[in-house]
Structure formats: C-alpha cells, structure tokens
C-alpha cells in the first residue's frame, strides 16, 4: 500500500526534475546499455553459429596441417614468436596426401563417411569479345561437391568417370551464364570454354549450371564482377597445375554416431604418430564447428569481461551519482521530512520512501539502458551479419542489478533522512 504510494511519489519527483534525473541516471544507463549490447551481440553470434552448425553439419571435422609450436623460436625473454620471417614454408613432404587419407578411411570405416577434398587453383577469367566472367577455379571430389548442396539448373553433375579420369569438364554458375550467354542456362551445356589463369589458357567442356547463392557467399563486388566458382573434378584441377594431389587441409565427414571430440583426438594422435613423427616443423590438428564455436565463445567472453569491467566502473560511478543526488534531494526536502515526521511517519516509513525513490531512479535508468543496449546490440549484430536475439537472462539480470544499485546507494541517504530530528527538520529554511 505504502509502497505503491511511494512509487507514484518517486515517479512524480522524477518528472518534476527531468534534467537532473536524466543526468543522474546517465552512469546507470551507460553501464547497463553496454552490458546489454555486448550480451545481445554475443547471444546473436552464438545463436547464429549454432543454427549454421546444424545446417552445415556438426559432424564435420577439419584436419589441417599447422606449424609445430615447438618449432617456433624462443627468444631470450621467454616469449614465443610465431609470425613473420620465423615461419617455415611448407614443402611437398609436409602436405596431407591421398595415401594418408585412404589409410584413415580404411582404419575408421565406421566413423568416416567421406573426405571432402578441394583444391583452390585461383581466380581466372573467361572472355567472349567485350563480355567476360570472373571465375574462381575450384577442384572438388564427390564428397566435397555433394556437401556444397548446390541446385543444378541445367545439365548434370560430375560422374564417377569424370572424377576418376580427370576429364576436362566444368560446372558454371547462373551468373556466368548471365554474363556470357544472356542468362540462358541450357545454351551453355556442351560448350567449350577457355579460362585464362596465370597467363595460360585452359579448355573445359561445360556439363552443368548451378545456382549461385549470393546470400551465403558474401562479396563486395557487383553482380557482374563477382567471381563465382568454376567447379572441376579434383583430378582435373591437379592435372592443370601438373601437381600431385596434396592438401593443407581436408574435411572429414563423420557419421552421426561418432563421438567427435574423441574421434578428433584419435585422428590427431594417429596421423602425427605415423606420418609427422619425424617432421620437425609441422603437425596436424583437428577442429570442428563445435571447437570453433568454443574458441569464439571464449574470445567473446573475454571481450564481455573487459566490457563488463568498464560497465561495472560506470555503474559504480552512476551509483555514487545517485547517492549524491539523493543526499542533495534530502537536504532540499528537510522540511518535508520534518512535516512527515510530525504527521506521524515512522523512521522506517521515511527510510522506505527514499530507498524506493532511489530504486525507481535506478530502475528507470536501467530500463532506458536495457532498451538502448538492445538497440545498439541489434544494430551491431546486424552489421556483423547475425540475426539479433537479445538474451532474456541478461535483461532480467540488468534490471535486478540496477534495482540493487538503487537500494545499495540509496540506503545511506535514506537512513540519514530517517534519523533527522523532526524539530530541526521543521525549522530548516
């Protein structure tokens, strides 16, 4: 009953001193807004990554060759460097080879459903008079191609023979057709195209057209300029470079029943023990979407902690500001306090009145902060390409916390008011 009256009274007070209240709340607003903003960004990131994880397959394990940490030079100060001139170039002996991968498939037939192998040759151009199309030449094996999840608009995909014999066949995008074939996706089938790459000419027969997904392939170039993938059978790509098949990283598609973490450890131990034991500079390491997510989350939580500390300082300063303004307010309203006591207010009623007032002040500040934080966080998340999803827990915490600040920093002034001598308070000018 009295609480409700006190809240109304406090809100009236806020309205009567708008500017002063706003300035007082600023610290709280900034503090809460920054916490909520970083929280929203973080939550949006994790939610989006988790979503894409399930669509891209949480079961994918990336096996990559990386520099051994022990091979990095240790300076006299004990700090390790892993960059610049100290980096060792990979030689042919350091890459993963088909025979190694075949070995893995034989050893874990139940766990490995396929191995995605890709070879990025580079960016080339296909010209026809003034018209041209940029292409990113990519060799793929059948597992990799299937996992790309492409929509075929016309023609066909690669056959087993294309892969095995390294036939000079290619798939192009609908963008490619727009640039060179007036958007006709069936005209191009069976055509011989000439790709210029690295000042050399390569000839391929187009067997199919896939739909380019502009949304998932972010590019700053215009639609005409964008280099869409020109897919080749993996063997064809290696043949064009006159190289033996070798990879710096491949993706192992594991079965859904596989314990990914365990599997990653096993693979690492096996490959390092068997193939990289005598390699002074390189070793292999595994990562999966979930380990990527973990490292991202830990990075994010580091940022969160840093921002939270800043926000904490802001909230502390804000709280002191609230305390300060409450002390001023109590001084100004000494006569009112005296009158209330003469009318029969107990000390506890006076104390409650001013604690509620400081709580309302902080709560309104907290609410403004939450709204501001959600807006900032949503804009930031949107800029980073994630769907904004503010976390309910964070919001509840922020509101509760701002109320707690109100109580904590309001107690001392409220108690001071409660303990005023009514005679002196009534006589105060």
């Amino acid at each position: 009953m009295l609480l409700f009256e006190n809240i109304i009274l406090a809100l009236n007070g806020l309205r009567a001193n708008k500017m002063r209240s706003l300035l007082t709340m600023l610290g709280i607003i900034i503090g809460i807004a920054s916490v909520i903003a970083i929280n929203t960004v973080g939550n949006s990131m994790t939610t989006s990554i988790e979503d894409s994880m399930s669509s891209m397959g949480a079961t994918n394990v990336t096996l990559g060759v990386s520099q051994k940490s022990s091979s990095t030079e240790t300076s006299s100060s004990g700090m390790t460097f892993n960059f610049g001139p100290h980096r060792t170039e990979m030689t042919d002996d350091d890459y993963l080879t088909d025979s190694m991968l075949d070995d893995l498939e034989e050893k874990w037939p139940d766990d490995i459903e396929g191995i995605e192998k890709t070879e990025s040759v580079g960016t080339g151009i296909v010209e026809d008079g003034d018209a041209y199309a940029n292409v990113s030449i990519t060799g793929v094996n059948d597992t990799a191609f299937t996992n790309e999840d492409l929509t075929i608009l016309s023609g066909r995909i690669f056959t087993d023979r294309d892969y095995e014999e390294g036939k000079k066949v290619a798939l192009v995008s609908d963008y490619f057709c727009n640039n060179l074939y007036n958007g006709d996706t069936s005209d191009v089938i069976g055509q011989q195209i000439t790709v210029t790459y690295n000042n050399k000419f390569y000839h391929y027969t187009v067997v199919g057209v896939y739909e380019y997904d502009a949304d998932s392939n972010y590019s700053s170039s215009s639609e005409y300029e964008v280099a869409t993938s020109l897919y080749l059978p993996l063997q064809t790509a290696f043949d064009s470079e006159h190289e033996d098949p070798q990879y710096s990283s491949v993706t192992l598609v594991t079965s859904t029943s596989t314990d990914v973490d365990n599997f990653m450890d096993e693979i690492e131990d096996y490959v390092n023990g068997r193939y990289y034991r005598n390699n002074d500079n390189f070793e292999v390491s595994c990562s999966s979407m979930s380990t990527m997510l973990e490292s991202m989350t830990s990075m994010l939580s580091t940022i969160s902690i840093a921002i939270s500390i800043i926000a904490g300082i802001s909230l502390l300063v804000g709280g002191i500001g609230v305390m300060n303004i409450m002390l001023v307010s109590i001084q100004e309203r000494t006569r009112e306090i005296g009158t209330r006591k003469a009318l029969g207010a107990r000390n506890a009623s006076i104390r409650t009145q001013f604690i509620v007032e400081s709580m309302v002040l902080c709560l309104v500040g907290g609410l403004i902060g939450v709204i501001l934080g959600i807006v900032i966080g949503a804009v930031a998340a949107h800029q980073m390409g994630y769907d904004a999803s503010p976390s309910t827990g964070g919001i509840i915490f922020a509101i509760t916390f701002s109320m707690a600040i109100g109580i904590f920093f309001g107690y001392y002034p409220a108690n001071k008011a409660a303990k005023m001598n009514p005679i002196d308070a009534l006589r105060y000018e």
Binding site: M1, E5, L9, T339, R340, K341, G344, R346, N347, P422
Partner: protein
Amino acid sequence: MAEKEIIIDARDIYKRFYIGQPNELEILHGISLKVYKGEFVAIVGASGSGKSTLMNIIGVLDKPTEGVYSLDGVDIMAARDAELSDIRNQKIGFVFQTYNLISRTSALKNVELPMLYAGIDKKTREERAKELMAMVGMEGRMHHTPDELSGGQKQRVAIARAMANDPAILLCDEPTGALDTKTGRMVMDIFHKLNEEQGKTIVFITHSPELAEECQRVLTLSDGQFIGEREGAGCAAV
C-alpha cells in the same frame, strides 16, 4: 461542575539543552499544565519565552528533560521513538505558521497523508479526505498542488490534514502569523467552529494577546514559566 476528562496532563516539566556542558541552558523551569477535553486554550508569550520548546514537548516532537507528561492517557515519558510517531499520528493534529504542505502532491493527497501513515485503506482515505476538504470549504480545489493555492487556502488544507485522524488535540503554532487580517479571521472562525461543533480540544500558541483573548483560557508564558492564567472572551461566548 462535573469531572472533566483531562487530555493534557503535564507536571513539573523542565527542559535543558547542552546538558553537562559549560553552556548548559534551561529553557523551561518546571511548567505544569492541564488541558481538559473540549477546551480552547491559548498560550501567549513573547519570543524567547520558551513557547516553541513547550509546543515541541506538547506535540511529542521532543521529550522533557524532567517531569511527567501524559497525553490522552498515554505516558509520553516511557514511549519509544516509533511509539512517539504513532502518538503524533493518532492524537495530535499540527497546524503550522508556514503551512508545511508537501509540494508536488495535490491538496487531497496532503490531507490523506496522516491516514496513509495510519494504514487506512485507499477508499476510506479518499472519502474522509473529501469530507474534510468540504468541511474547510476547499472542495473545489482538491486536486490543486500547494503552489496553486493562496495562503488562506493552504492553511485551510493544513487544518483539514490536522483533523484527518480525528486527533485528541489540535496543536496550532501561530496559524494566522503569515496571513492578512481577513484570512486570519476566517481561519480563526474555522477553529471556533471545530471547537464548538465538534468539541475539538485546541491548544493555540501565539504571541498576539488579541487573538489569545478569543480563547476560553489564556496562559501567559514568560522566561520558561507561566506567569498568569485568566479566562478569555471565548469562554463567555460559549
């Protein structure tokens, strides 16, 4: 005359300040005062006579250093802080020279305030506050804030507020001190009406002998002691 109910019973009240210090000061030197139910008593004194100190003690804002005081049968000397608050709330209606209305809240809310502290529910509070406002002729300005009222109007709201919990006494400290003669007269008439029609006990503190003359009994305070007691004109009027 039949035995009258005693409302204020104060005996040998001493009030000292700065006790034990070189500048120890005794303001009240053993004052005794009896006020009966339904009386309209004036306490007159020049400034520095101890009027304010006596009023604070009668109004339970302060405790005497020495003496016995019971208000409407309650022993004040033994009461603790929270109990003193409740006594002020239930038994005393203050009317100040400077009105002391709470700014930013409506006149009606001001009248409700003592009832709020008494824990009376919202509906009853509102009804009672409206009745009281009507009683002092302020029913038309209930929702105005004190800033929007004239001095006389403010004092009428203050009287309504003092009557909120139907106190045992109305304690008025120079209630017409800040008003012009005409509005001061109007406020005095309200007190007479409350005294005559509702039998309200009123203790009226003033430095003006003319206003004191209207009351039934006039006590003159000088240098911390009562130096005279006489019947006022108000007595004859009844």
